[in-house]
């Protein structure tokens, strides 16, 4: 038995690189393009790693958990190279088309199935592809534990955490008993890069892959069949802002002069308009 008494789960998603993001003809996210770890998930992982630094490496264990196609392994290995200890992937064609409700059901069931009594679960505030911020809170509801979203500061106090969350025009501080789930914002920390000392483990560590059967769910409970919402149609939006004009010149002074010139033209144009009117 491991004597690592403090167990942390981090939910991680892989997302398309923003410039490559596109829809399939069914209106779903095209997952075949180049992708990366969702930035908010990286902040969640960093929060976990900082907690591990606080509590002590010898006492702490970080599990990174993801749901998605086999190529999500890329982000899980990246997480291992940053200092996570175990990686789990829930991967199954039956999961295709899951909305946030079905995703949380699958992830929540998987976490219970793992049988690890996690002390804390971290998730990114939201993903940059789905942009919903739903999955974290919905997994917490499944697990029956409290959650706080928009967390940007965490103080570990043993059996509870004191967290500060973003609020319009300020912030709010809560005392939260553990176990709990926290969703982490991008203002919370600065994620570290890969560490040389984890490189070999990151390469060799087995990533345990679970199927829908393995966690005891049926095809009807997940994927599009298990999703209350559906995408009815997708339309393009057009933007009307012209592209940025970059100021040019040999020196900074030249660039600023060019800006002054451009601004003067706008001022004169509006004066001329005022005279006409």
């Amino acid at each position: 038995m491991s004597n690592k008494t403090f167990k942390i789960a981090v939910l991680i998603k892989q997302v398309p690189i923003p410039s490559k993001m596109r829809a399939t003809k069914e209106g779903l996210m095209d997952r075949s393009v180049a992708s990366m770890m969702n930035p908010y998930c990286k902040h969640a992982l960093e929060a976990a790693l900082e907690l591990k630094d606080t509590i002590g490496e010898e006492k702490t264990e970080i599990w990174v958990i993801s749901m998605g196609p086999p190529n999500f392994e890329q982000s899980l290995r990246e997480a291992l190279s940053m200092g996570a200890d175990h990686a789990i992937l829930l991967s199954d064609r039956k999961l295709a088309g899951s909305d946030t409700y079905a995703t949380a059901k699958a992830l929540g069931t998987l976490i219970q199935k793992l049988g690890v009594n996690f002390n804390i679960v971290f998730a990114g505030l939201q993903t940059i592809d789905g942009d919903t911020a739903h999955v974290g809170p919905q997994v917490a509801e499944r697990l029956g534990i409290p959650h706080v979203s928009y967390v940007e500061k965490i103080d570990f106090k043993g059996d509870h955490v004191v967290v500060r969350r973003i609020l319009e025009g300020g912030n709010i501080t809560y005392k939260v008993p553990l176990p709990a789930l926290l969703t982490i914002t991008n203002t919370a920390n600065k994620p570290r890069g890969p560490r040389l000392k984890y490189a070999i483990r990151a390469k060799n560590e087995e990533i345990k892959v679970y199927s829908v059967d393995d966690i005891g769910l049926t095809a009807e409970e997940v994927g599009s069949a298990g999703s209350p919402t559906l995408v009815y149609r997708v339309k393009n939006v057009t933007h009307d802002r012209p592209p940025c004009q970059f100021m040019e010149g040999e020196t900074v002074e030249d660039k600023v002069n060019m800006l002054a010139e451009k601004l003067r033209e706008l001022v004169e144009a509006s004066k001329a308009e005022a005279v006409e009117a």
Binding site: M21, A23, M29, D99, T100, Y101, I128, D129, G130, D131, T132, A133, H134, P137, Q138, A140, E141, R142, P146, H147, V148, S149, Y150, I166, L167, E168, G169, G170, N171, I172, T173, Y174, V176, P177, T187, S227, P228, T229, L230, V231, Y232, R233, V234, K235, N236, V237, P242, C244, Q245, F246, M247, V252, K255, V256, L259, A260, L263, R264, L266, V267
Partner: protein, 372 residues
């Protein structure tokens, strides 16, 4: 027979499911209160849009008002469009906490069986709505910018649903609009992006019903304690009224903000209504107070000229300033997203660029296109 006609003939044989006749009724909104015990603006926006949806569905609009000493707002919500206001007034609900608020809304949904339930996509709304949706086992569409009511035909199940809520939201990095439906579960839930929907004119002749509701709490709803609430206060600054906003980001550093203050001062000396803005990056780093923050969780501004200095242009920042008439961006990274909305860009170190700009403004060599 064309395929279209064929389709139509087939559909005539489909069983019709009228969403508004399945024992569920009414459009509900969460009337969100802020820590100063005033409603968030989005509450009035939801009442405006909720009214439209309720009229299309020929049903009532109900606002759910949760907090402590909030009943005094119930009448106001009626003047702003509600037919009914359910008030849950309890000392323990004074400050937002997701567990008890989820339980309250869950209880109300069980009792009232609404057809539609809308939340503001504020930080509270986006923490609360998903937990509620998971507890009542329904779908949720995030951050919607448009709603409508219409039909939905499911060819596989040979069903035609009438009076379904169309929930439209930006997706794929705001490059597309997706219409989301939730045809089988109740309520149809969505969060609505603040600042998009139009509130109704306040009308004191509007009549409505105010209903007290006492939820059943258990101890586990109160395991999380609120320790501190920190919102603005102190000196007020007028970002909304400014014609020019000089805004600094994390790239500016603490000393840099002194330079930007100087910039604002010089602009004011020249007669411009100028104000100092900031990104959350700068606020978070402790360079400046959150009152200056522009963006999704700060102030939404649309000045004549917005000067973004050392700001990368995260989507949450752009949300609060991209409607500005002219945007000038100064950033040393030519790929910074701020340039995607900028009118004019200078790639360079602000420490080189800004002093020259200040000097030129002082000498009257740099003027700005502002309206009166």
């Amino acid at each position: 027979m064309s395929t279209n006609e064929k389709k139509q003939r087939n559909e005539e044989e489909y069983e019709i499911v009228d969403r508004s006749k399945q024992g569920v009724e009414g459009v509900f909104i969460w009337g969100q209160m802020m820590p100063n015990n005033e409603p968030h603006d989005v509450t009035f926006e939801l009442l405006g849009e909720g009214r439209k949806i309720a009229d299309k569905l020929n049903t009532k609009l109900t606002a759910v008002l949760i907090g402590y000493n909030v009943k005094k707002w119930a009448q106001e919500l009626i003047y702003r469009g509600a037919d009914r206001v359910i008030v849950v007034d309890h000392e323990k609900l004074k400050t937002f906490a997701v567990l008890p608020y989820t339980q309250v809304i869950y209880d109300i949904i069980q009792k009232e069986k609404p057809e539609v339930f809308l939340f503001g996509a504020t930080t509270f709304g986006r923490e609360l709505a998903p937990r509620v949706a998971a507890r009542v086992h329904t779908g949720l569409s995030a951050d919607c910018t448009m709603f409508d009511v219409g039909d939905y035909v499911n060819r596989r199940k040979k069903l035609k649903f009438e009076n379904v809520l169309y929930m439209v939201r930006p997706s794929f990095g705001e490059s597309k609009l997706a219409t989301i439906l939730c045809p089988l579960n109740f309520p149809q839930m969505a969060s609505a992006r603040p600042g998009i929907f139009i509130p109704l004119k306040r009308d004191e002749t509007r009549k409505g019903e105010i209903i007290d509701f006492t939820p059943e709490f258990s101890e586990k709803d109160f395991v999380v304690d609120v320790l501190d609430v920190n919102v603005g206060g102190g000196e007020q600054i007028d970002l909304k009224g400014a014609k020019i906003i000089v805004s600094g980001g994390r790239g500016v550093g603490e000393k840099g903000f002194d330079m930007l203050r100087e910039f604002v001062k010089v602009l004011r000396e020249k007669g411009y209504k100028a104000e100092l803005g900031a990104s959350r990056g700068a606020v978070e780093a402790g360079y400046i107070s959150s009152k200056h923050q522009v963006g999704q969780t700060g102030t939404t501004v649309r000045p004549d000229v917005y000067i973004a200095i050392g700001i990368s242009g995260a989507i949450q920042h752009l949300a609060g300033m991209k409607e500005s008439k002219y945007i000038i961006a100064i950033n040393k990274d030519h790929e910074a997203p701020i340039f995607s909305v900028a009118t004019f860009g200078i790639v360079g170190d602000y420490q080189d660029v800004v002093p020259i700009m200040i000097e030129k403004v002082r000498k009257g060599e740099m003027v700005f296109p502002v309206t009166q």
